[in-house]
């Protein structure tokens, strides 16, 4: 599937409306880090990745792992937009309710089209490395994409995997760090600064690209560049705005993990129209 940037921007708007609506309906969830990642997931699912929603277990497919599993709403909305049969759009507002397929964090038991059950930070890149090695061993063209949070980058296991992937020379693995600058307790720079982040990935021998992760054109270009890199994995350090698209959520630590009220939802939807 190939989509123009303008088409993707329209989809991104709908996804942002879904995110704030479903989190309000669920009365809990993580709006900030879902909104920051919208452009990246929309580009992956609607342009970059070789996937077939009607055949979600196609062995040669590309795979996406949301290592920062608390941003589940953006993944659910994008997969619903993309038409996966096990992510119906009309159930998005059951998020986090008993019996819902839309669990608080991505859960393959409820949505088999997901590539991993995540939610405990730090683990997705190791899984992605294993999948990249598996694809290479079988001679499959699959590319593996793993999205990490900037706060998540404080987890030691991230750097175990970051050390191992270039050692194994996997060029079918791309990490994306959603560098939105905020974690649960406040600003990342105040809790445990991860800067300089791009330099860290470069030092670990990754092909490293720094972009504005809310700029759809830049996001597309970065994935195109990553696809051409040989002999090493790529890390895209994506500078994003937490809560992007809703003025009172932008760069506001409160909306890391707090649901909007009904009044806030109204304001948010007005801005997102």
């Amino acid at each position: 599937m190939s989509k123009s940037i303008e088409e993707l921007q329209e989809i991104a708007k709908r996804v942002r409306r879904d995110i704030v609506t479903m989190i309000t309906a669920g009365k809990s969830g993580h709006p900030g880090g879902s909104l920051s990642a919208v452009e990246i997931l929309v580009e992956l699912y609607f342009n970059t990745m070789r996937i077939d929603p009607a055949n979600p277990k196609w062995p040669d497919r590309d795979r996406f792992i949301l290592s920062k599993g608390h941003a589940a709403p953006v993944l659910y909305s994008v997969m619903a937009e993309r038409g996966y049969p096990d992510t119906p759009k009309d159930q998005l507002n059951t998020l986090r309710k008993l019996g819902s397929i839309y669990q608080g964090h991505p859960d393959m038991r409820f949505i088999p089209s997901l590539e991993a059950s995540t939610g405990s930070l730090g683990q997705g890149l190791s899984l992605g490395l294993g999948m990249a090695l598996g694809a290479r061993l079988d001679g499959r063209p699959s590319r593996i994409y793993v999205m990490l949070g900037d706060g998540e980058s404080q987890e030691g296991q991230v750097w175990e995997a970051a050390m191992a992937a270039p050692f194994h020379k996997v060029d079918n693995l791309t990490a994306i760090v959603d560098y939105n600058g905020i974690q649960l307790d406040g600003f990342v720079k105040d809790i445990m600064d991860v800067a300089p982040l791009a330099e860290k990935w470069r030092a670990f021998n990754w092909h490293t690209i720094e972009i504005n992760g809310n700029d759809a054109v830049a996001v597309r270009k970065a994935f195109e560049e990553a696809a051409g890199v040989k002999g090493k994995p790529t890390c895209i350090v994506a500078h994003t705005i937490k809560g992007k698209g809703v003025s009172f959520m932008e760069n506001n630590p409160k909306f890391h993990g707090v649901a909007p009220t009904q009044d806030e939802l109204k304001l948010a939807l007005q801005e997102l129209n």
Binding site: P59, M108, R109, E115, A116, S117, T118, G119, S120, G122, Q123, L125, S126, L127, G128, L129, G130, M131, A132, L133, G134, A135, L137, D138, G156, Q157, E160, A161, M163, A164, F167, H168
Partner: protein, 321 residues
Amino acid sequence: MSLKTKFELKPGPATREAFGRELVELGRENKDIVVVDADLSKSTMTTYFAKEFPDRFFSCGIAEADMVGVGAGLAMSGKIPFVASFSVFVMNKGFEQLRVCAAYGRSNLKVVGTHSGISIGEDGPSQMSIEEISLACSLAGFVVIAPADEASTKALVRAAAAYDGPVFIRTGRPKAPIVYSGDQKFAIGKSVEVIGGKDVTIIANGLLVAQAILAAEQLDSEGVSARVIDMHTVKPLDRDAIARAAAETSAIVVAEEQLVDGGLGVRVAQAVAETNPCAMEFVGIHNTYAESGQPDELLDKYGLVARDVAAAARKVLSRKR
């Protein structure tokens, strides 16, 4: 009745050695078998596999959490990965990854812990795993296996590879006495009655199976008929064999090289309580860490030899009466 003719208990290879050899056989038969390692292949014996199949052997360096995650990712790509390290490292440093990526994620991951228990010897307590059976059993959906000798290890490693789902296999460092001839059959979840008996039942696994056999021989000379069951699969437990033993002997000793707080003993006790409650005694490690020493010295000092198993049997018999 002379049991000694049946069980010579000759020294055999370590169960880790048996694992490493069988892994190569499996690798020859199935190209989907892969191995992920954390710098201990010469100790876990995955080095044999690495030498024959270098393209299917992945080093993670000294990074057990990453090793488990990479293994799970390979499993999710259709491979049958074995990840191996000392039990103490893979289970403690990799536990959360085992929980999220292997158990909850239900990956087809095979986890092999070597150098289990205090019989690792001279390296001392930081390397001694005395809680991994308890930890492994607390991973929902895991199969947990602790084989006694070479033949049972090879058969159960093979069974684990054929099983679709996460498995933990506990192996040891020292030479393991040979309990079984090559024609004994093993299946996951099906215990082996090593010796028949009617007065008391000794349920053991790992190195304690040989000690249970020696204890049964001693008890036999005292006129006590002891049944010995090798409970090589700790989860799922062979509840039928346990219920039968409880009903028929009304006295059970459980013997294991593990903290008694959460290992085989408590799981057997639960099955006994739920079926045919009877008197029980527990041979294992009691609320302590061991020390450096030779394996045999340590097993003796920490109460894990035939003498201790026989004493527990006499005690449970006195309570039965």
